[in-house]
């Protein structure tokens, strides 16, 4: 018995040029789709990094806070329980939750903003570089903003007393041009102890997650998710930051959403045309297969399988090319100079499956037509 598979592979070898054309069409489409997909991933990573650099755009503060005073003083007068964070992390609208406790304290002949920073909490158990990674967390250490240090001629390594307790300045931050320049940072437990507020915080800073992108009113949605988890709080959302980020992300996603189906449809149509021409070119063979008693199903399978095999090959090749392209040229699009994506088997499998699917869809109708063709008419027209 000459199997369907051996017929398919022999025909592919024999008509190498047309086979290569099908493979190249699929590879082109798949590489473009993979390129867009990986570029979107890379852009999302880059966006996350930019956002992290810009800062956290959500603040969860006590509900009774007078916002006028909050913006004048830079912190909320009331407090919320630190224990809320245990439940508060179980949602997907806010990530990178940083508990903080801030108060203005007398310092020398002036005041300073004493700021306790707790450990950053990540949603879904993710591990990322913390936003406040530069703040020293040791019990006897302080990190001081540039203006606060400069005003008092303090340097790294200097000893000083804060609220009667001795500390060493581990780090003086570079100037940021914000209120952070007058802060005196310490670990949250230390500040809670200094202020005699154990287990209390007055702010949680967080980064808005992707979830806000598909809904009309992200602010209301975020409030509705966070309120039950943080009872007795209100959420301040820095709209300009969040919206700019959301719009940028939606634009990137929209390009992906439009480009991918267009490319896939184009490839499927091209394969349809090539498979149709291939079936026309092979009328005599199709008639012959009917003569030797091959069923319509077998004949259809031969036409279809050829495209599916070539599609699979094109898909695998396309995935590799797409990955290579995004690593070579991705930085031109997203401005991340050294951004690289490690290749993973999943991309290869997705590419192969996508290529096989495109080719299978494209070849389905020509295969059906070939299978249903009248063998006698086929032989007459081919003869």
């Amino acid at each position: 018995m000459t199997s369907v598979v051996s017929i398919v592979f022999a025909e592919i070898r024999y008509r190498l040029l047309s086979s290569a054309c099908v493979t190249v069409i699929v590879a082109t489409a798949v590489s473009a789709v993979v390129f867009f997909m990986l570029l979107t991933d890379l852009a999302a990573d880059r966006t996350r990094m930019i956002q992290r650099d810009i800062g956290l755009n959500m603040r969860i503060i006590p509900a009774e806070t007078d916002l006028e005073l909050y913006w004048i003083k830079g912190y909320a007068e009331g407090w919320i329980s630190e224990s809320l964070l245990e439940k508060g992390i179980e949602q997907d609208v806010a990530n990178r939750l940083v508990p903080m406790l801030q108060r203005t304290i007398p310092w020398g002949d002036g005041e300073a903003m004493l700021t306790g920073i707790g450990d950053e909490l990540f949603a879904r158990g993710e591990k990322m570089k913390p936003v406040f990674g530069g703040i020293q967390k040791e019990a006897e250490s302080l990190t001081i903003g540039a203006v606060a240090a400069d005003k008092r001629q303090l340097h790294e390594g200097d000893q000083l007393k804060v609220l009667g307790r001795d500390f060493t300045i581990k780090r003086v931050l570079t100037a940021t041009g914000t209120v952070d320049d007058i802060r005196v940072y310490a670990s949250l437990p230390v500040v809670q102890m200094l202020l005699d507020m154990p287990g209390k915080i007055n702010e949680v800073r967080a980064l808005e997650c992707h979830c806000g992108s598909e809904i009309d009113d992200p602010e209301a949605y975020i409030q509705s998710v966070l309120q039950p988890l943080f009872p007795g709080t209100r959420v301040i959302r820095q709209d300009s930051l969040a919206d700019a980020r959301r719009k940028q992300r939606m634009l990137a996603e929209r390009i992906g959403v439009v480009a991918a189906p267009v490319l896939i449809t184009f490839a499927a149509l091209a394969i349809f045309a090539m498979a149709f021409l291939n079936a026309q070119q092979r009328q005599q063979e199709i008639g012959l297969l009917a003569v030797v008693g091959k069923s319509a199903w077998t004949i259809g399978s031969i036409v279809w399988l050829r495209s599916a095999v070539l599609g699979l090959l094109g898909g695998l090749g396309g995935a590799l090319v797409g990955w290579w392209l995004v690593n070579q040229f991705g930085h031109y699009f997203i401005g991340a100079g050294n951004a690289k994506l490690a290749f993973n088997m999943q991309s290869l499998l997705v590419g192969g499956a996508l290529g096989g699917l495109i080719a299978s869809c494209g070849a389905f109708i020509p295969a059906l037509l070939a299978a249903r063709r009248d063998p006698a008419a086929t032989l007459r027209s081919a003869g």
């Binding site: 018995m1 063979e285 032989l379």
Partner: protein, 230 residues
């Protein structure tokens, strides 16, 4: 109604095929034909080009739906079966030799012959058969590297590989030299002697095929039953 003869393999009665050419123009390619091929018979249908021989053969092979009439193969009404059942009958019981060099150009000679069989060891069987038709040394050759006579022998070998009960041969020796034509005629005669039926349509001299029965076909009709030659 078909009158069954003893050992009948294929028979047809009142068989007609009309092709609609254009508008109201119809061509009766086969017109009211009755025919029987029994075991050990070599039936030759002789006629000129366009007489309807190939159309009749296609209908007997289950590859062309008749306009009217009926074809029985091994006591089964061929056109009451669906197309997949007819394909199965062809695969099991019919060998067809076509007039053109219908071969898959990308399969070697042995694979082309094995195409006619659904058995596991078809390639070995094909090589044995190629030996019988004098092509043992060409088993791995692609058809386009073979001569017309070799390709014709290949097609006959493919039609015989599954030892079909009915062999339908359309111009099996046309355009062949005497030596190649002789080899093919011997194969067809041997196949009939093994208890099978052979139907040959040709415009060549029927005597050459050791025919049991010779029919003359003209304008779609089997006009005369010639004679039993031997």
């Amino acid at each position: 109604m078909i009158q069954h003869q003893q050992d009948s393999i294929v028979s047809c009665s009142a068989l007609c095929k009309t092709f609609h050419i254009a508008g109201d123009l119809n061509v009766n390619a086969v017109n009211d034909v009755a025919l029987n091929v029994s075991e050990r018979e070599i039936v030759v249908i002789h006629g000129s080009s366009g007489s309807g021989k190939t159309t009749l053969l296609m209908m007997l092979a289950g590859m062309l739906q008749p306009t009217s009439g009926c074809v029985e193969l091994l006591n089964k009404d061929l056109y009451r079966q669906d197309s997949s059942e007819r394909a199965l009958l062809r695969r099991k019981s019919i060998g067809i030799v076509l007039p053109m060099f219908h071969l898959l150009p990308y399969l070697d000679a042995a694979a082309n012959v094995a195409l006619g069989s659904s058995k596991k060891h078809a390639r070995k069987q094909a090589i044995d058969l190629l030996d019988r038709v004098g092509l043992a040394d060409r088993a791995r050759q692609l058809p386009d590297r073979m001569s017309a006579g070799e390709r014709r022998r290949l097609i006959v070998a493919r039609a015989l590989i599954h030892d079909p009960k009915l062999l339908l041969a359309d111009e099996p020796t046309s355009n062949l030299d005497d030596e190649n034509a002789g080899v093919i005629r011997t194969l067809l005669v041997d196949h009939a002697r093994q208890g099978n039926g052979v139907l040959i349509v040709t415009h060549e001299q029927p005597e050459r095929f050791c025919a049991t029965i010779v029919h003359e076909m003209s304008n779609g009709k089997l006009q005369s039953i010639a004679q039993t030659v031997g």
